[in-house]
């Protein structure tokens, strides 16, 4: 049930699309970077332990 947006339909929909897209991109990039940093630290710590 899409609300009636009248003559400003493009403006309203594009605002929502751009904003939600940017927010989702920010979250995805943050999560991926977090996983990468965690994996990199685990690998280096593991190596340090092995090498004493």
């Amino acid at each position: 049930m899409m609300p009636e947006l009248g003559k400003y339909e493009i403006e309203v929909l594009s605002s929502y699309a751009v904003s939600i897209g940017l927010l989702v991109a920010l979250v995805v990039i943050s999560v991926l970077r977090s996983r990468k940093a965690r994996a990199a630290l685990d690998a280096v710590e593991e190596r340090s332990k092995r090498n004493g």
């Binding site: 049930m1 609300p3 009636e4 947006l5 009248g6 003559k7 400003y8 339909e9 403006e11 309203v12 594009s14 605002s15 929502y16 751009v18 904003s19 939600i20 940017l22 927010l23 920010l26 979250v27 943050s30 999560v31 970077r33 977090s34 940093a37 965690r38 990199a40 630290l41 280096v44 710590e45 190596r47 340090s48 090498n51």
Partner: protein
């Protein structure tokens, strides 16, 4: 209850935020979805702005967070300058991309709204201009962190840049109050009922703002953890190289 400075310990910060992060994330998504669905589907058109009034549920919270993210960075930078806690410097670094993204959302949605309402995508209005400068400060701040290899030097210089940029963050917030020649209208969010937008728009706006604030907090937690781990990795790699 322990001192707040306990959380300046990286391990303590990570263990505490690990527990909080799922809760804050769930609350952020719940508030964002509720606020945006309420605002988009269940609010009427404005008699002047028509359906473009629905853009405020994105524009106002994003603009608010663009300014407040810089203020949070300012506080964290001051803590770094005064007390030399690495976590605070890394939290400021972690917040910058989030603030920059909020600034982009505020600028883009403002332009999209401005075209039909003011007849122009852009105007060199005091608030718009100070927001654009704030965005450039965000870019400069992130570039400075990336350009300097030594973490402590980078933290020192970016903290100074943050202090300077705070002038524009404050200007973005108060420009409409002391410059009358601008196009941008007054605050949508005044505590005074007579000044703020009508209640039918006001309540979903508050929920949407709560969602943006919680999303910011969740992302700062996550990204600060990432910065702490990246810093620790760099330190260990440097130690390895010295040992070789």
């Amino acid at each position: 209850m322990g001192s707040i400075w306990e959380y300046a310990n990286p391990k303590k910060f990570i263990s505490t935020t690990d527990k909080l992060l799922p809760w804050v994330s769930v609350l952020a998504v719940a508030a964002l979805v509720t606020g945006l669905i309420w605002g988009f589907f269940f609010t009427p058109e404005d008699y002047k702005q028509g359906s473009t009034v629905k853009i405020i549920y994105l524009h106002v919270p994003a603009a608010l967070m663009a300014i407040n993210a810089w203020m949070m960075m300012l506080v964290a930078s001051l803590i770094w300058i005064v007390r030399r806690h690495h976590v605070s410097a890394l939290a400021a670094r972690a917040a910058a991309p989030i603030g920059a993204m909020m600034t982009v959302i505020a600028l883009v949605t403002g332009a999209i709204w401005g075209q039909p309402m003011w007849g122009t995508w852009w105007e060199w209005d005091p608030r718009l201009t100070s927001f654009l400068i704030l965005f450039l400060f965000y870019l400069g701040y992130m570039a400075l962190w990336s350009a300097i290899e030594n973490d402590d030097t980078a933290a020192d210089l970016t903290a100074i840049l943050c202090l300077v940029g705070s002038v524009f963050a404050l200007l973005s917030r108060y420009a409409v109050n002391f410059w009358n020649q601008g196009l941008h209208q007054g605050a949508s969010l005044s505590m005074d009922k007579a000044e703020h937008v009508d209640d039918v728009f006001y309540y979903p706006l508050l929920v949407s703002i709560a969602g943006f604030v919680l999303l910011f907090v969740a992302l700062v937690f996550l990204r600060t953890q990432t910065e702490i781990r990246a810093r620790r990795t760099r330190a260990l790699l440097a130690r390895e190289r010295l040992g070789q």
